[in-house]
Symmetry: C2
Subunit: 394 residues, 2 copies
């Protein structure tokens, strides 16, 4: 049987070769005779696998030695809370007299909005400052703000943005001269090491990360480009691995132990039992990725895939049928969102795709429309099949 | 190749038939053509699977309709924090004027000790009351305290115990007349619905849960008896699903959103993407368990297995070689811990077992000695092989 093409937004398609390898690993992990879900997370085989997976990320993203790579659980939603706790602790130790610092959030879609709402729940609304907002007149998220629209606080405990908004299909440009790039040069310069936090959940490993070394924390759930749900990856600058208990003694909110970055780092990501299967499959995917040419390979591939789909939507007669939801320049390579115009046309588009074995094209329930997710595991050939379908759809 | 016998304490052995089924599911989940790690967690197939898994637990443990069954991430360590937050919120709503309630912990081993330490981190040591302690003269954990040794607080926000201590091999008896049973009848009667919390991580689904309905919360990581690491199961009484934000408005500590029981329940365990693979394999194991006769079947099997191993350790000449670490009556069915007496005897015991393809018998690094974990997936025949080895070891 030919596998369907899964354009789902996450959990999402994984390479078939990796799934076959993982199926073997379920019964026998690296010749131990014990399955990957059964072996001790403290065994030498598994700890070596964790180390190797860390190196696969470090090599491909060129992560400098100033940053640790950690693995944890809880996904982006867990990190929405964890960043608040850890960066409040860090701020308290750096500025013991600044008892109620502000947290800066750049809001460009549903996920950064959710993250800012969690900060409001934990510290109160008056301390959450929206430093940038992509909405025009408070409406839907359709763009990255222009550089002149940001207003960062001088001494925020954290500065937060989401690189790719999975629901809204809005993504920062990686061309530093583009209006939709992240405004690194407008960040406050008062602090030498800025508390800059980026949610890379839905674009992690899809292309290089610009100015990675300038980030305090980059986090990502695995379930888009690199593996099954259940694994969260952290790239943390070492000055952010603070003694959270010392900070609490000075008045910062105590940090739940499973969320404390210093605790996770001190235990080399094995403070408690990790999500072994998700970590294992992610390791296999990352190994395959390196062999293909790493994030540079995927950058070229993903650019071509996205260009082809966006071009098809605007080509000739298609213009009258399809309407991209996001403004030019802010469009995501990972999640292409558009409306199909005309009564019943959207349902017809989805049904026709299903007949061609192309699945999961429905947009997120909160925004509707069509969403095509083009994560790493979607091949160019699969993209071409979708493009052909778009071109012939009338 | 014959698979080794994996006596590891967790992650631990899983039934081979389930691993084979899961290997197929990685490529094709229930005939969808999409793998279980790739399908949307909001698809009708996956949500039906979650519902079915819930029913498999409800049926086998006879969970009453007063209690919800929820799935989350983060393991026992995550719950050490979550119980504190959720039960402080509940207490605040029930007793708005009791601003600094006490938390009662029964400490019978490393894990309940860790849980009490996390409570200390989050609320301060003065509010954590040790309501029972198994140590004699503050030494190692070798027993469950006698009923007369407990001192519960009259209006604690939570009363916490760990049913089976994986590291120390100490477990509560399920015979209500036994001295090592949990002292249900000594709990305060002032509150109609007691905030009684039990960590069942390493004995969940190994036998029925006595007085389940009297618990406010039972939680368990999956990675012992029912599945891979990454899944946490909660059985929560409905009065514990409180509006944590309303409690925070009254002064309770805010609850990280991914830990809030009411949020998880309102979203039917899908507030954020769950650990799909761990949930899937656990569902397969639970289905198999039901077909075999449920927890009643495992109760009989696990009793026989534990009896055989403990008997072998005390039989004839074995008495001079092996010394169980835990006092009679408090010995765990799941984790049998003992010392092998004599210079180098322990290393010899482990090496000899390895030659017979019996693995992971080393005790936890904090206590040393030997630990034999006899979770559900260990068969009676595998136990017999270990028993034969113990009997011939000199």
């Amino acid at each position: 049987m030919t596998r369907p093409i899964n354009f789902g937004a996450g959990p999402s398609a994984l390479p078939e070769s990796v799934l076959k390898e993982a199926a073997n690993g379920l019964l026998d992990f690296e010749g131990t005779g014990i399955g990957i879900a059964e072996i001790s997370h403290r065994s030498k085989q598994f700890t070596a696998f964790v180390k190797k997976t860390e190196t696969l990320i470090r090599t491909q993203l060129n992560v400098p030695s100033t940053h640790e790579i950690l693995f944890t659980q809880g996904g982006g939603t867990g990190q929405f809370s964890a960043v608040v706790y850890n960066f409040l602790a860090r701020h308290r130790l750096l500025h013991p007299d600044d008892g109620e610092p502000v947290l800066d959030y750049v809001v460009t879609g549903s996920w950064s909005k959710k993250a800012s709402e969690e900060a409001r729940r934990l510290v109160g609304g008056s301390r959450v400052h929206i430093a940038g907002d992509g909405r025009r007149e408070g409406k839907t998220f359709t763009r990255i703000p222009g550089h002149s629209e940001y207003s960062f606080s001088p001494n925020a405990a954290l500065i937060y943005y989401c690189e790719n908004e999975t629901v809204d299909g809005v993504q920062f440009s990686h061309d530093p001269s583009a209006p939709a790039s992240f405004p690194f040069d407008r960040l406050p310069t008062t602090a030498a090491l800025l508390p800059l936090v980026a949610d890379y959940s839905s674009s992690f490993m899809s292309r290089p990360i610009p100015r990675l070394a300038d980030h305090a924390l980059i986090f990502a759930g695995a379930q888009k480009n690199i593996g099954p749900a259940g694994l969260t990856i952290l790239i943390v600058r070492q000055d952010c691995l603070v003694d959270v208990d010392a900070a609490a003694a000075l008045g910062a909110p105590p940090v739940p132990i499973s969320m404390a970055y210093n605790v996770i780092a001190d235990a080399a990501s094995l403070y408690n039992t990790p999500s072994v299967l998700a970590l294992y499959i992610s390791g296999l995917v990352l190994d395959r990725s390196l062999n293909l040419g790493g994030v540079q390979y995927y950058e070229q591939l993903n650019r071509r895939k996205a260009d082809k789909v966006y071009a098809a939507l605007r080509d000739g007669e298609a213009r009258a049928i399809f309407r991209p939801k996001v403004e030019h320049g802010s469009r995501s390579w990972m999640n292409v969102v558009f409306d199909v115009l005309g009564d019943g046309a959207e349902a017809r588009f989805i049904a026709g795709a299903e007949q061609l074995n192309m699945k999961a094209l429905k947009g997120h329930r909160s925004v509707g429309g069509i969403r095509v997710s083009l994560y790493n595991a979607i091949t160019e050939e699969q993209t071409d099949r979708l493009v052909a379908y778009i071109r012939q759809f009338t």
